[in-house]
Each structure stands twice: as C-alpha cells, then as structure tokens.
Symmetry: C2
C-alpha cells in the first residue's frame, strides 16, 4: 500500500487520558483510535495486525478440529437463568439493555450458555461426539476500571473454543491438544519466550485450569515462575498442596507480574447439566456431555506484543503479525530517479506477493524514518541517491538495528 | 469437509415462531440458529456463505480504494448529541446501556458520527483528500417487529463505506464508482437479474439517494420498476416531478414488492458541519468535507438469496457464495468399494483446492439426497456401485436438475 493513500498519520501525542503504554504507542502509530475508556476502534494498520493474529489462531483451531461459528452478541436471559449467571449480583460485568417490545437482553460477556443450548439440537448420541466449536466474536464486559489500553477493554474481540466429549478421558486428551495448540499460537505470534503455562484456579469443576501468562510489568496478575520447567503458578492458588502436586519447591519459584493472554478450562458437566445437553451411550443410557472452554483475546495479544516489543522509538512487530512485511522508503531526491527506482521496486514486491507499505510521501528523511520506527514494520528498505549509486537498497532490521546493503536487482 | 464431522444436522422443522421462509430454510439446513426474534447465530455452513458474500464485497470496496477499519459497537453520546441523533425521540431504534462507573452508552445502529470524529485526526488539508473508509461491523437496531428472518434483524453484520471528498464533483465521481461497484457485487452474488438501482428519498442533503432493491414477495418495500432501463423508483418518492426527472412515463412502470439489499447516500456536509470535519484548500481557506455513505448487509443478502433461490426441496446457492462448491455423496455399498472410491475422490478434490462437503455418513441414499437438496450446494457428485461399474460419477446441477455421467478419472 502506498503511504500517501493511507488515511492515518502518525501522531506526536496520544490522548491525555490514555495511561497505558500499549494504547499510547498504537494510537500514535495510527493502529487504533480510543473511542472511550475501554473501547478502541481498529484502523487499517491495527486491523491488519489483528487479522494476522486471528489468522494464526484460526489455523491452530482448525488443526485440532474446531468448527467456526459466529454467535449473537444479544443474549436471551432464559439460558443464563438456567445456569444462575443472569443476576447482576452473581455476574457483575453484564451490560444489559431493553427490547422495544419488552424484555431485557444482555450483551454477551462469554458464550457457554448459548452454545450449549445450540448443541442440544445436534448432540443426541455418542455418535455425535466429540465436537469442538469456536468463534471470533465481540465480548462486552462492564469493567469498573479500564486503564490497560487494549489489554483489558470493555468491548473486545475474543476467540472462544468449546469442546464436547463423551467422557473424562476423551476430554483430557482434547484439553491437552488444545494446550499444545495454544503453546504453538503464542510461539507463532512472537510471545513464546515470555509466556508460561500457569496453574490457576479450576473453579468448582476441576482441580486446576491453565492460564497462559506473559511476563510484563503492564500485567495485572502475579505469578510464580519456574524458568527451567517453563511453568508457573498463579498467586491465587499458590499453596503447599499445589507445590506438592506440581513437584516444585517454593524456593525455585520467582515472583513476576504477568498478563493472562489465554486460558483453558475444564467445565465438567456444569453447563450440560444446567441446560440439559445429554447424549445416549451405546446401551441407550443418557449422560451429560463433558465440556471445556478455551479463550484467547487477539486484541489483548496485540496489546501485549506492543508492551513487550517496543522501544523509545516505537513498535517492533514480529514478522508473523506485522501489518506489512516491508516498509519501503523513498528518500527525497532532485531528479526523480529515486522515486522511479522505488516505484519500480514497489511494483515488483507487490507482484511477488510481498506485503509492502511504500512511503511515497513528500516528506523529509527524518520524518520518514521516525514514522517508520514508530509503526514498527520489521524490515525497512531505503532507496536514496546514495544507495542507487551502488545499485543497492539499504535493508534495516527494526529489532536488531542491523543494516546491510543489497543489490536492488536481487530483491 | 467430511459431513460425519460437521456438527450441524438438517432438521425437519424450524422453530414454530419462525415465520420467514429464509430463516426456516436456513435453520432447517443448519446454516443459522435463532437466538431470539431478530437475532440469529451463524453456524459453520452459514458462516462460510456469509464469509463468501463479505469477501466479494471486500474485493469491490478495495477496488474503489476503500480502506478497511473496525469501529466499536459501544458509542459515546457526545458525537451523537453533536448531530442531534442521540435522543430516543429522534432516533427510535437505539439500544442503550449503562457503564458501571456512570454514564449511558449506545450500541451502534450506524457509524457516521464516530468515523467523522476519527477522521478529524487525519484530514486537515486538501492533500488529505479524497479518502474512502469501510468496515464490516455488527449493527444493533431496536426494531419493533422482527419477522423477516435474517432480512431484517435486531443484530446484523453490515458493510458500511464512507467517502470523504473536497468538492461535489469529486464526490459525485466517487458516488458513481461506488454505484458501479454495488452493481458488480449484486451480479457476483447472484442477485443481479432481480436487483434494480432505485431512486429513493435523498433526505435533506440531496435530491435522491439510490437503493438497490431486489424483487421478492418477502420484501417490505414497494417499488415501481422499468424493466427495459433496469431502474426503479421507490413508492415513497414516486410523483410527477420524479417521473419527469428520470424521463419515464408512469404507464411504463410496474409495481413490485422488493427488499432493499443496499443503499448509497450523499450526506453533503451534514456530519462534517456538526462534528467540525474541515480541510483547508490550497489558499488556506477552510471548508467542510463532503461525505457519502454506502451500505450493504451481507446477512440480508444471504436471506434474500435464500428467498429467491430456493424450491420446495430447499436452498439453491449460486456458486460464488455456496458454502462448498461440490457436495460429494457416497451411496451405501456392500463391499466398501464405493466408500474407497469416494474417499479417493475427496482427497483428490481437496488437494486440487476444490471445496467439497463429503457425505461419508452411514445413511440411506434417500436421506443423503434430501439433505443435499436442502443444503443446496450447486454441484453434486454421486458415487455408487452403479456409477463405478462405468468408472463414473453422477454429476447433478442443483439449479437445473440436469444430470450427466463423468469418468471419475477426469474429475
């Protein structure tokens, strides 16, 4: 894309009320717009990165047999009364609104209830199991405070997968496959090194759930990390019994601040019991379906990457989720030769399928470089009179700062 | 995809409270689920078709220079008070809800206000124009009645494009390009033959807007059609002056029921005046930006296709939007030879990139055929002991019913 066409521009300052580093950087670079506290719109660069993150998650969900759906945001209270999660005194983050023709509806903060109700139409026998169903859908959560930018929003995109199995053994096998898929996802989006599979509260259904916690001072959680084993324990469950279960002495754990970028949870039969999702076995006997849920917020992942992979100049995207692979910059020249060479290179890159943002604007070299550093595309190609004198392009790696010259004909 | 894995099944009956043909068929075929009146979830087959429709729209929006964004559903009242569209006595379809820490927020029923406010950050000079920005985002409309299935929902996906130009001439040129893009979209999704560019009320900004109206008895609008010129006039604006303007005598118009599948609208400076979206010209003089808006609901398009392209047996998808290109059906056999040949063919189709739904279930030929007719994939390949005796596959066109035999090796 030509940068002269892109409607966003970089900004020197984020809005004064924005206190989080991730949102400040993303707003200044033109990735997002702050609509109000906890609600951010995604602009072209930001949507491209969101779609790359979602694309990686989708591939991994499809690879473990997930089938994609898209449920409604508006929620009928009948499903939530069945599980006792409608009342505001029990779930305190509901947004609710009223239908004009009468009756209150909620805005989905999660989707266990409606999906369990849907599956009653399709699961009757053991032959209909196992199944795994997922979606990317907006969640609405009426948070008291929203000061972490896109890491904790009141409206945000979530990938939520739900599994349906006939017995515990099959559930546990799927749960482990989902855990491995999550590990691959965080590796692929560039957070693998800092992300720990973390033992957390299992609620009433199972001993533990697993959170995927990424180490960052911007996180709101405290976890205890074992670096060698690459696992951690959430502070909320750390006690002697847990330490014994996971076989790690307290002395080997290090306290860290972290953000929960994903979680996987065994639901047991809580929802299938409440909503009547049963199957009959080979002998015709009915049983409730065993369920699990598996969540990742692509926006929170993007915010976490912005927190961790950034420096005083701006963002530093991993290749896999960068809005463009290459930032091609034509420096100002007198006779138009640089512009022509850069135009040709842009056309060649585009034909080869390389996603390039081409800074063809009339601006100074300084403006172009500082914008490029702020936007954070991983590889920069600079074309100038000087590089052309050697039939070359200057190639700079945003992360390492390493610069090399490459013959333009070889690109 | 193997049909034995697909979690949905066809159903004999839609819910009793569902009165629209489109939703009845789509529910029975497993494309959608009715969450409540006017709110439908999209299941795997339905989401695939929605994504195909959205993909066609996206291509055409990109081709006219549209840049994709994703704005929030939650709406801050300040932008809407500026245009006098916050008050429920003026806009009677708002869903509103409350933030826990105080203050009312709305759920977006359209996005002129927030996008105009965003563009103030990026449009200052004539050099920043023209721009065109679009999104696919959920709209919420608190409709009194919702009886048309996915053709008029309370929660629905909308593609809305907004244009920003420096003067009327540039606006009109873009408006015409958008109109042509819309004509291509309706052609590509298979509604071209029944869809008319329709003169409609222009509101206070311009003489007319244009609706894209598709002829169907399920529509809620009445239009007057000139079949030869392929244009129409909405009943709400039909008068002598309009007839004179478009140069068509009343006697040549035929009254039809129709559904508005898209609309394009000149907004003039209504929103830029109210929200202060101005640019300076080459002489440094300020002017308000000229805007236009351009909407299509992919769900309504899908519902309209279901209304128009269906028969007593079920749905009949155009190839461009079908959830799969081919429905491969293996009929029951005794020695497993049919299963093996169908498995091989499925693998070959998949390798070639042909999207096939493969009915590998243990079911009777009658069940498989009636499910296939209901789901409505355009091309059906049937493998049976009989077809294999001739090394062939029976190929049936869902629309015409035409059957031919093709050598299996040539597929």
């Amino acid at each position: 894309m030509k940068q002269s066409q892109l409607f966003t521009k970089t900004r020197r300052e984020a809005p004064k009320d924005e206190v989080s580093k991730n949102a400040q950087l993303l707003i200044r670079a033109g990735f997002i717009h702050k609509e109000m506290a906890g609600a951010y719109s995604f602009l072209p660069l930001g949507l491209r990165t969101m779609n790359k993150i979602a694309g990686i998650i989708r591939e991994e969900m499809n690879a473990i047999g997930g089938q994609e759906v898209h449920l409604t945001a508006l929620q009928d209270k009948k499903n939530w009364e069945a599980t006792n999660r409608w009342d505001d005194s029990i779930v305190d983050i509901w947004f609710k609104t009223k239908l004009k023709n009468g009756g209150e509806v909620g805005l989905s903060f999660t989707h266990e209830e409606p999906l369990t109700a849907i599956m009653k139409n399709y699961i009757q026998s053991f032959r209909d199991l196992p199944k795994a169903v997922y979606q990317f859908q907006t969640k609405f959560r009426n948070e008291e405070r929203a000061k972490s930018g896109i890491m904790r929003a009141r409206e945000f995109l979530m990938k939520d997968l739900y599994s349906f199995n006939a017995d515990e053994k099959a559930h546990e096998e799927f749960y482990e496959r989902a855990k491995q898929a999550y590990i691959r996802i965080f590796d692929r989006v560039g957070l693998g090194g800092q992300t720990y599979v973390t033992f957390a509260s299992g609620g009433s259904f199972s001993r533990y759930s697993h959170e995927f916690q990424t180490i960052t001072d911007a996180g709101e959680d405290v976890i205890y990390v074992h670096e060698g084993k690459k696992i951690a324990v959430n502070k909320e469950v750390l006690n002697d019994e847990v330490l014994k279960n996971i076989g790690i002495p307290r002395s080997e754990l290090v306290e860290k601040k972290a953000v929960e970028v994903g979680n996987i949870f065994s639901l047991g039969t809580k929802f299938s019991d409440a909503l009547g999702l049963n199957f009959t076995d080979a002998e015709g006997k009915p049983h409730p379906v065993i369920m699990g849920c598996y969540g990742i917020g692509p926006g929170r992942v993007m915010g976490t990457i912005a927190e961790i992979r950034s420096d005083e100049k701006g963002l530093i995207w991993p290749e896999t989720v960068a809005p463009f692979a290459v930032h091609l910059i034509a420096l100002p020249d007198k006779d138009g030769a640089v512009k022509k060479a850069a135009d040709d290179l842009y056309e060649r890159l585009t034909k080869k399928g390389v996603e390039a943002l081409y800074d063809d604007r009339e601006a100074t070299a300084g403006e172009k470089f500082s914008d490029s550093d702020l936007i954070g595309i991983p590889t920069r190609y600079v074309v100038s009179a000087k590089t052309l004198a050697d039939d070359s392009v200057e190639v700079k790696d945003r992360l390492t700062g390493k610069i090399e010259m490459r013959k333009i004909a070889t690109i």
